[in-house]
């Protein structure tokens, strides 16, 4: 029955860095490769913080596969890296360029529309030579099975296609990974949520205000008391002629603290520390949001099933340990390793057995070790259970802790610890490293920041209004299955384009009167949806992506 379908040797779903790397590595090995991307252009559905790394220890880096990527598609190389501990207007800054430079060949700021679109053109050209190619505006909506075994994909726009290898590089909300039962959207503790503003700033102003040599860039991280106690932090990265300013929090923390993500972003944007960088004229080019997998918890140790392999965010391969934030580089490595695995399996006469080899390669190259570090496992076992983490947190905040952290000896020691990759691997997911410790450090050792912010960030109405949508009218891609406040109320504040008391977003609080009693419920309008996937985790929904070419279109990403 599957004979009537079109067949390609390999199908790659999603044209982000992971999919592009897989496709390029397959095409370079003469594998007939078809890439299917649901956006109107590669990158139009993608959001990053973001910095892309080339690690010295990695078997593949993006410039191995795309030699011109840095000159054509990335922004400024990051040559300075700082971490700011904030308490009120007091700030204690540590230079963590050493940590940043550890195992780093280079690291550039990127905007995904620009980078991914460029990668996609390269990929199409190389794949076309194999008889395949890259198509945009096609949404792969599920797996094609024959006798219970995965043999291909089904799509909204075109007929099903069979393949010997299916690479799911379809992002953090991978529908294929969920169809295969390899990933779920159940536990907020397994995810981060990031929101970002891309802010217009001319190249020469960036260099002046950040005191940078021409063409070079800086990265700044922020933690402390400016985020209402939510576990996470903020960042500022310099692009060629804009700034990426964002905040990332553990999703369970957003849910539990009942904070509004866009307000936490605004808290960073309006902090006096950023006043001199942003200046008087704040022009926000784009507001965006993204769910981020926490590889320590969700990187799938065995990311394959039949002919399907998962790559990048789809497999939870996003490393976030303290100030180490690496995702795209691991996706690139994984994509290329999957290609390698397939070609070896095909050579040995069993092309459908690439998955096992791919898994072994992730282990033997040390990639899985970075995503799921053993040291973290030990530290987490000791530091994360509630009684212990609560105790540690109160000790740090107590007079003893304040004394221990707040003297000149500890200042020097802290500087070294923050800059240490060994320590970064062990940072537990508790309030202590994100909120309490930075706050105490800033209070005891910080200097007050002079100046005042003149930044007035746009409200959600303006932010939504500035985004481009091609709404699939009458065909909502998300359906709330349980509209009760208990089941789905968290979406109202957790959704980055919704807020309590705001009627123009996706999720709203409703009051339903039945049989004389009043109940709280939620209602949903998917028109402003930025497809981040947050509500799939925090609310009871049936969640799908919009059809090819439909939904939000990011111009920056």
């Amino acid at each position: 029955m599957t004979d009537e379908y079109e067949h390609y040797e390999a199908i790659v779903v999603g044209a982000g860095p992971g999919g592009a790397a897989a496709a390029a590595a397959l095409a370079d090995r003469d594998v007939e490769t078809l890439v299917l991307e649901r956006g109107v252009e590669a990158g139009s559905k993608n959001v990053t913080g973001g910095l892309i790394y080339a690690e010295e220890s990695a078997p593949y880096t993006i410039d191995d596969l795309f030699p011109d990527v840095r000159s054509e598609a990335t922004d400024r190389p990051v040559t300075e890296y700082y971490l700011h501990n904030v308490a009120g207007n007091k700030v204690k800054t540590y230079d963590i360029s050493g940590l940043h430079g550890h195992d780093t060949e280079w690291s550039d700021a990127v905007l995904r529309r620009k980078m991914d679109a460029w990668l996609a053109d390269e990929v199409h050209e190389r794949c076309r030579e194999t008889g395949g190619g890259l198509l945009t505006d096609v949404r792969v909506n599920g797996l094609l099975r024959e006798d219970g075994e995965i043999v291909g994909v089904t799509c909204d726009e075109i007929e099903p296609i069979t393949a010997d290898l299916i690479v799911a590089a379809d992002g953090v909300n991978s529908e294929l990974a969920r169809d295969a039962g390899l990933m779920d959207w159940e536990d907020p503790e397994e995810w981060f949520q990031g929101v970002k503003a891309v802010v217009d700033l001319p190249a020469d102003e960036i260099e002046t205000r950040f005191d940078l040599p021409e063409g070079e860039g800086a990265a700044h991280l922020f933690s402390g008391d400016l985020f209402e106690g939510a576990r996470g932090g903020g960042f500022v990265y310099t692009n060629d002629d804009s700034l990426s300013i964002g905040t990332v929090f553990h999703l369970d923390s957003i849910v539990d603290e009942q904070v509004e993500p866009h307000e936490l972003l605004d808290a960073l944007l309006t902090h006096p520390l950023l006043a001199d960088w942003i200046g008087e004229d704040y022009e926000e080019l784009e507001y965006s949001a993204k769910l981020v997998p926490d590889s320590k918890k969700v990187a799938h140790p065995s990311p394959h099933e039949d002919r399907l392999v998962l790559v990048g965010d789809a497999a939870g391969q996003m490393q976030a340990q303290g100030p180490i934030i690496k995702g795209m580089n691991h996706a690139v490595t994984a994509g290329a390793l999957a290609a390698e695995a397939f070609v070896e399996a095909r050579r040995d006469g069993d092309p459908h057995a690439a998955g096992e080899r791919y898994e072994r390669k992730l282990d033997s190259t040390g990639t899985m070790g970075k995503l799921r570090p053993r040291r973290y496992k030990i530290a987490a076992a000791l530091g994360e259970p509630e009684p212990i983490s609560g105790l540690v947190d109160s000790v740090v905040a107590s007079p003893v802790g304040r004394l221990a952290l707040g003297n000149r000896v500890s200042d020097k020691l802290l500087g070294r610890l923050y800059d240490s990759p060994f320590m970064a691997m062990m940072v537990p997911d508790t309030r202590t490293p994100y909120v309490t410790m930075p706050t105490v450090i800033a209070e005891r050792l910080g200097e007050p920041v002079e100046g005042e912010s003149h930044v007035e960030p746009p409200d959600l109405t303006e932010r939504i209004g500035n985004l481009t949508y091609n709404t699939d009218v009458g065909n909502p891609h998300i359906v709330v299955e349980d509209e009760s406040w208990e089941a789905s109320g968290a979406a109202v504040w957790s959704c980055p384009v919704s807020a309590r008391g705001f009627g123009g977003g996706c999720y709203r609080e409703e009051t339903v009167e039945t049989n004389g009693s009043t109940e709280r419920a939620v209602s949903l309008d998917t028109q402003p949806c930025v497809e981040c996937g947050t509500c799939a985790v925090v609310a009871d929904t049936h969640w799908e992506h919009p059809s090819g070419g439909k939904g939000v279109e990011f111009k920056q990403g």
Partner: protein
């Protein structure tokens, strides 16, 4: 087949005081209905390969129309049948000229044309005659109001779904031998449901973008001598249609009375509110 017509878009088209079209002040664009013909031709090229030529009869300025047509159908080349003797032709004289152009194209190319696609009536004449009359001149079968089509290369047939009498409620499937003339309906929707078709489409788009840079080299102009046509049978002299006069359609009388109110006039606005009050509950 395509034709240049006045751009009737709001704000672009220009009429004089008597309601006559001011041809000189209104730009010429490709006939909007021709887009469906071009879509159908492109779908055929994507699925079956081959070459697509665009042909039009009109003044030399039509090159822009041909360029627009070429870009939308990813055409390989274009032919403009143009000379003073062809001017003021009715649909009959136009059909004779275009059919002759198609025969010359076959002679020059050394192979037969399999399919001709014509738009469903033009925005200026609104007759819908030129396509069918061209089929008659060529002595080819014709399928009109086509909403989907499929070519069987081996059997040399074309099968089409068409609206019976242009009615969306009634659809029939018909089949005929090649060569044939196809008139797609505005309901025609191209379908590219296979990845390979979409990849070919993408290739053709990229190739066309390159090619149209040299559009002047791709347009061939033929006059009546090139076509070996007797001036008595083409243009105004060859047109049996006589247009006696054109009457503007009278403006429909308004059925409701309107009262104009100046928003600055407070008393008058008060009356408006009084009028609205009963509906305000």
């Amino acid at each position: 087949m395509t034709k240049g017509v006045p751009d009737f878009s709001e704000g672009v088209v220009s009429f004089d005081e008597d309601g006559h079209l001011e041809r000189g002040k209104t730009p010429t664009v490709m006939n909007p209905n021709d887009a469906y013909a071009l879509e159908a031709a492109l779908q055929t090229k994507v699925r079956h390969g081959g070459t697509v030529s665009v042909m039009s009869m009109g003044p030399p300025g039509y090159q822009e129309v041909l360029e627009e047509a070429m870009e939308s159908v990813y055409a390989d080349d274009a032919y403009l049948l143009s000379d003073r003797e062809m001017a003021a032709a009715d649909t009959w004289a136009t059909a004779i000229t275009v059919a002759t152009g198609i025969h010359k194209l076959e002679a020059e190319a050394g192979e037969e044309v399999d399919l001709v696609f014509a738009g469903f009536k033009t925005a200026d004449g609104e007759t819908g005659h030129t396509g069918p009359q061209t089929a008659w001149c060529l002595d080819w079968p014709m399928i009109t109001h086509v909403i989907a089509l499929d070519v069987d290369e081996e059997e040399r047939t074309v099968r089409a779904k068409r609206l019976v009498e242009g009615d969306i409620e009634e659809i029939e499937t018909v089949e005929t031998e090649l060569p044939a003339l196809i008139v797609p309906d505005p309901e025609f929707a191209p379908s590219y449901h296979r990845a390979s078709h979409r990849l070919t489409h993408k290739d053709l788009r990229a190739e066309t973008r390159e090619r149209v840079n040299d559009i002047d080299d791709l347009v061939t102009v033929w006059n009546h001598e090139d076509l070996n046509l007797d001036p008595d049978y083409i243009g105004l002299d060859g047109s049996p249609t006589i247009v006696e006069s054109v009457d503007p359609i009278p403006k429909a009388p308004s059925e409701r009375e309107a009262t104009m109110i100046d928003p600055a006039d407070e008393d008058a606005m008060g009356e408006v509110l009084d009028e609205l009050l009963p509906y305000a509950d």
